[in-house]
Symmetry: C3
Subunit: 362 residues, 3 copies
């Protein structure tokens, strides 16, 4: 058994699309914890650990009374900051609370910070201007993946797999045959792959009316721990930037548990932005391609989980993926060390409420 | 992961209803062990560990030959005391046996003692006179619960949950709003909740024709490790005892495994004892209410099992539940200490049979 | 929990029937490892660990290009000796390989050696001449068993179970009542059971037209770690060898994982070898009998896996089974000791490929 790596908690993960969060309580697992998402009466999003501080019953099965969640098991009332403000029908006022997570809503996306809230800086969220720019349009969605997050990260950081897994849509020989240039820093890994004068893959022939030869750029940015943006440019060979067709695909690779992952995507384009038929086609194509990846990654998860310790081989096209993996390893080790140094690892958890006066050993 | 607590073995657990046990071998798991239940030719009930001492095949898949079970794998014949009395078709007479459990049958219930048989005293079984009293009638049944037993114990010892989980049937605001008085000793925890001049919940309006205001008593007795009896009295406000409607609900909370539990019930009443339509209604209502509890407890099990170590908050209405939990903790610790002190922990298991003469290393 | 025993790896296991292996890649788990089976262009069979040395993706999902498997995730090309000979569409030539297993094809069977290849001697494969002898015919097949291999071994080495599990087909009282003679050496255990002047079981009455009394011989040979051959002779009482009806049943008991097992069989006969209706009847009967065994063994697996430590009783009819178990124990212990003494336990695994020049920490 190859145990899944420790998850990185100090980072902004994509948690939901704005239109998924409203006045109906939504449970979603993030980094091994159940989280309840909802909107406060002022319209802002809120997220708490989805366990009542009384007996751990999911708050998401309770009801929203203004900005307070009333637990449906015994009536604990939890305010938006996670603090218990009383118990329905009872005079008790327990000193108890659950964790509130830092959240940011921007460009139709809801971002969560599962780790130490003192380190949560909204400036670290990747720029997604194109999701709200009138010159762009996009489709979006998500699928569930029964595999550890790192396999998805490495899948996206080595796009040579398109040649083999996705030959009928976005892949062809040129992808694997064109080397990448890689740069990285302490929070990100980027690569560029500029394919010049190549044949147009089927997906792009249909959606853009391109005929070969074309230039195809795949410039990828991995923002650790869980975001990847692929910047795509396609144009007849020789066209000068900024002309050409541009697409961007943002992936939110958010661990649900150690071995399950949310795979969110937003696929945007700067051409034919009014063409709804094209949007429907792109959504269907994107989901078909992701299905091929999901199937492959779930098989790979089994192969990895059951392997007693094979040492992998890597080649040039793995440079971005290997750096991404090392970056996550380093971040996880840093968090583990910080956790070992300081006793209380879980953020925002107040001291346990004292036992009530009447509760004594019999 | 919050591991489930060690189960208490020294105690009488409800194992079956009398009409479930006959000449057909019945397998039921009790406290992590498979047990085979059956009736001897004199009509008495019997229970053995459901593993043949030969190769552990379930005796319950064998056949009953008089009072002997013949194992259907290789023909070991096991008498009612668990001792092997021969092997069908073969001359061998192995010295082997399986565990026989202390059993008591009373008032239509079969009780089992999974622990040290030397400590099994039938006088410790809760009195269930009302199950065979002609002035009473009852309905009964059981459901399977995929949760640790302690969650069911705490569910029943804090009935304020009726207000939230069961508002359409037996719960209303008065339950949560009325405090309890709690007493306890070394084997039991009792509480009384007397609601005076309250509105009648839907369930009781229908079954008794009561109109508000009424007096409603909920007097609960938890007999550790696994029995709870709720004594209910309903009457028009001001009626003197012993007048009024009386009901009793016995719950057998019997661990099947560490994380699954049998939830038996007998619901009795001392009014309209001939009314079979009312009995059918009460059975259906009771099962509907228990379904709401089962659903809640199975969700809670997941929340508890996946929690790395939340410290719970407790209030006054938890006093009975917290005392119940501590009582079980104390009993389990005492058994663990006794087991550590004495080597052979499993009762009634004789020394292993010696290898047969012909069996030698090659 | 009784953990399953360590699997013996140094031994020939039946892996497949010849007609299962061709130019379509076949994945089958053998001793906790995924293996890909296929036929080379010269017609010979080949087997590799079914993990690409790049990112562990199953090679069996790739495509066969001549005698090279091209991985369908990123294009690694693996030759029949397991060595990577390049990466499709890329100039890299990684030094990487996966394990190739010793294989032997003989009499329509494919044998694999999952352990140390230096110890693999084809002379140790049990003789199966009767599978290709014109005086014999046979039917064959396999079923999946969700139980540890040792339970199947013991099932076959103690045929007294036929009396109880298979009374409607091949079992009757005589089997359990007739003692066996047992011999064994360092690699095998054999027993003989000669039943003289007994009643003919239903299966044989129908397939041979035999009427009682008959002589029935059951001479079994267990070739550790995973082959059992039952030599059956039936004849009217008093008939002299070599007259009479002869049957042989070869069982391949090949661990898939610690708790799942492939149960292969070949059932041969030396009479009515042209009778296809009889062959169809024998196949159907054999599968029906094995279904009874599978059902029993899967229940037994649960009983064994959940047992905290019962000590089994054994009798004379267990002598062969107990010797078989001890033989496997001894072989497994020897392998564990050898593994502990020498660091690299996995055969044929070359040193890990060095990281490519471009792969450095960011």
């Amino acid at each position: 058994m190859v145990a899944p790596p420790r998850l990185v908690l100090d980072g902004w993960y994509l948690a939901a699309f704005s239109d998924e969060v409203g006045r109906t309580l939504l449970q979603r697992w993030i980094c091994n914890r159940p989280v309840v998402f909802y909107r406060l009466s002022d319209g802002s999003v809120n997220a708490l650990e989805d366990r009542c501080p009384h007996r751990r019953y999911p708050l998401s099965l309770g009801r929203l009374d203004g900005d307070v969640i009333e637990c449906n098991y015994h009536g604990y009332r939890i305010a938006d900051d996670g603090v218990c403000v009383g118990v329905a029908e009872q005079p008790d006022q327990p000193k108890a609370s659950t964790v509130r997570f830092p959240l940011v809503e921007r460009d139709g996306l809801v971002w969560i910070w599962p780790g130490d809230p003192a380190k949560a800086d909204p400036a670290d969220i990747p720029d997604t201007w194109w999701l709200s720019d009138p010159g762009w349009t996009h489709v979006q969605g998500s699928v569930g993946l029964k595999a550890r997050q790192i396999l998805l990260v490495e899948n996206l950081l080595d796009l040579t797999h398109e040649t083999f897994l996705h030959p009928g849509s976005i892949g062809n020989a040129a992808v694997a045959a064109t080397p990448i240039d890689v740069t990285s820093d302490t929070r990100s890994v980027s690569f560029t792959r500029h394919m010049i004068g190549i044949e147009a893959p089927p997906f792009y022939q249909k959606s853009m009316g391109l005929t070969s030869p074309i230039d195809r750029w795949q410039d990828g940015d991995f923002y650790a721990p869980g975001v990847f943006v692929l910047n795509i440019r396609l144009a007849p060979t020789g066209t000068e930037e900024p002309d050409g067709f541009h697409m961007k695909v943002l992936y939110g690779m958010t661990p649900a548990t150690d071995t399950t992952t949310h795979d969110f995507f937003c696929l945007g384009r700067d051409y034919k932005v009014e063409d709804e038929e094209l949007s429907a086609f792109q959504l269907q194509q994107q989901l078909a391609v992701m299905k091929e990846d999901i199937d492959a990654l779930e098989v790979q998860e089994l192969m990895v989980a059951t392997d007693p310790g094979m040492i992998e081989s890597s080649i040039r096209s793995d440079v971005a993926g290997v750096r991404g993996r090392r970056l996550l390893d380093k971040m996880a080790k840093r968090e583990a060390a910080a956790e070992a140094a300081a006793a209380p690892a879980r953020p925002q958890r107040p001291a346990a409420a004292a036992a009530p006066a009447g509760v004594a050993a019999p």
